[in-house]
Symmetry: C2
Subunit: 333 residues, 2 copies
């Protein structure tokens, strides 16, 4: 079950597209105008003010202002399926004509017949095959284009929005607010790094090299006389749970001072951030409590399960961003 969830996690991540700037220009002078006044918003402002004021006890030099954000469920929605998994399912249909054998092979046969239960009955192995069929055997450039094409065309079954319109406006404001105060913002997601990079720069203002995620191994090769990188059907790194502090160290090389997540997949990243000494640290959990404007789920959810995080939030002083209570709006207009 846990490995299955890891693989699920690997399947998925944020979403928004190059051609479209969905980040709102706020019409007020409040950089966090989509946040309700209250303790969560105040805690954010107090932390940033304290850590950026020269001479303050909690001052953090700009070079150490490292802020890490989970993506799925933290910067955008993740229900009813991680969006990267929706991408993978759509890609199976796109690729089917090139794979006549799929008509007789599970999990592809069931997927193509729209029978999700049978397809996923194969558990971890079935998930692995779906991921690898859609995320390998292709050059990195071709994969980029595939992701961008999907983002411009696919729509979410519940909202009818493009997936790239389902980012969280309050979090986009938080990213901008941190950067305006000298913080360097990173995504640290269980989702595939190659799935996120084609669009995150435009949507979140986070350049590709500041995205840490799961990945497959790559092979440097030559195709029609041109050097290419081929995505191999072999996992390179799973950036989830204990993997998040590992990914942070391997990629960023510094311990964050600010971290936001939403599920138990972010527990170790939050712990790694907020148990460090020397500087003030800020940990935040986005709690999905709004069944009307978004979704409400935590301890019992297969997607974005949040159990340990809620239990231990008080111990570590992690702030809860309660979507229903703390956010004036969910998505950009």
């Amino acid at each position: 079950m846990r490995n299955t969830m890891v693989l699920f996690a690997f399947l998925l991540a944020g979403c928004n597209l190059k051609e479209k700037q969905t980040v709102l220009e706020t019409s007020t002078n409040d950089p966090l105008s989509s946040w309700q006044e209250g303790p969560t918003k105040q805690a954010i402002i107090d932390f940033v003010t304290n850590t950026t004021k020269e001479g303050s006890v909690g001052f953090i030099p700009p070079a150490d202002r490292i802020a890490c954000f989970d993506n799925d469920g933290t910067l955008w929605s993740e229900q009813p399926l991680y969006f990267q998994f929706a991408f993978a399912l759509d890609q199976i249909k796109v690729l089917a004509p090139q794979h006549p054998e799929w008509k007789n092979e599970q999990p592809f046969k069931a997927l193509l017949e729209g029978d999700m239960n049978t397809a996923l009955a194969g558990g971890e192995k079935a998930l692995f095959e779906i991921v690898m069929a859609t995320h390998s055997g292709i050059t990195t450039e071709e994969f980029d284009n595939t992701v961008i094409d999907w983002m411009t065309t696919a729509t979410h079954p519940k909202t009818g929005k493009h997936y790239n319109e389902m980012i969280f406006q309050p979090m986009v404001e938080l990213l901008s607010y941190l950067r305006a105060n000298g913080y360097k913002t990173f995504i640290v997601s269980g989702g595939g790094v190659d799935f996120m990079r084609p669009w995150v720069e435009h949507v979140y203002g986070i350049p590709p090299d500041q995205v840490v995620g799961s990945s497959v191994k790559l092979k440097y090769d030559t195709l029609n006389g041109r050097p290419v990188l081929i995505k191999l059907p072999e996992i390179n790194f799973i950036d989830d749970k204990q993997g998040k502090p590992v990914g942070i160290h391997q990629h960023i090389g510094k311990r964050p001072v600010f971290t936001a997540g939403n599920s138990d997949g972010d527990y170790e990243m939050l712990q790694w951030t907020t148990t460090a000494t020397g500087y003030p640290r800020f940990g935040m959990i986005v709690h999905h409590t709004d069944s009307v404007r978004e979704w409400a789920y935590d301890r019992d959810s297969q997607i974005g399960r949040l159990e340990r995080g809620l239990k231990d939030a008080a111990i570590y002083n992690w702030k809860i961003a309660d979507m229903k209570r703390d956010w004036k709006k969910i998505y950009p207009d």
Copy 2:
């Protein structure tokens, strides 16, 4: 032999220290004042001017101005041994009291007796044991401190300088010049990423998250109630040869437009950079031609071997920075 060299490469990388600012303030208005006037310097200036002038045919938007630099032999010296290997050898002596068994075990016995030939007679296996004995079984924080301690105390056998004083002043100027023109500068080195990060920010102006290098696997664990990352005796990634384009993609996620290297370990990185389409590209090879002020070596050297790069430089239009001819000075004063 090749694997041995890969392991050698893994052992080593750049060097300079936190407490000491060795980057020279230039006293002229020429940002490349340590470069002799001539075709190499002119090619650099022409490229940067052309790619940063709005409206120019070769204009590159700031987000795509990615510049990658090898470290050993490109940003600092690497003779007579990669500096990270000198660090490893010194660490064997430091760690010996905790390892009484080394008195009877090769390659440690020979190393402790100063008999390098016998120590290295064990080939790849001996090298692997030296690396892992000094680069694993330790937390990432402890390793950082060890590197910094070594940098402040160790000196180079030929120059008597601290290793952190043997960076190349013309290259430091080039890094600054590129950044002043909106380029984001990265190190992409076969050396260990954890060996480079504690000091590169101060010396080269390159923050830790913009350093791509070789690494061991890490384990997230708890030590005396504190979360730690333990460096494991298992290679995670070798950032050399074909590994360099792979490391660039996994870490940076964009194809560079500017790359500098000095050895055949940089061949694929140069090729990956300069065969890309869409923008102008610049590839440069630092050629070690100055036996008086530094070292002179290329095709026949075990360290920093440069054979394919010289042979194919004209095909790919890679510029040669000839140290003797093109550099007014080698090290900062």
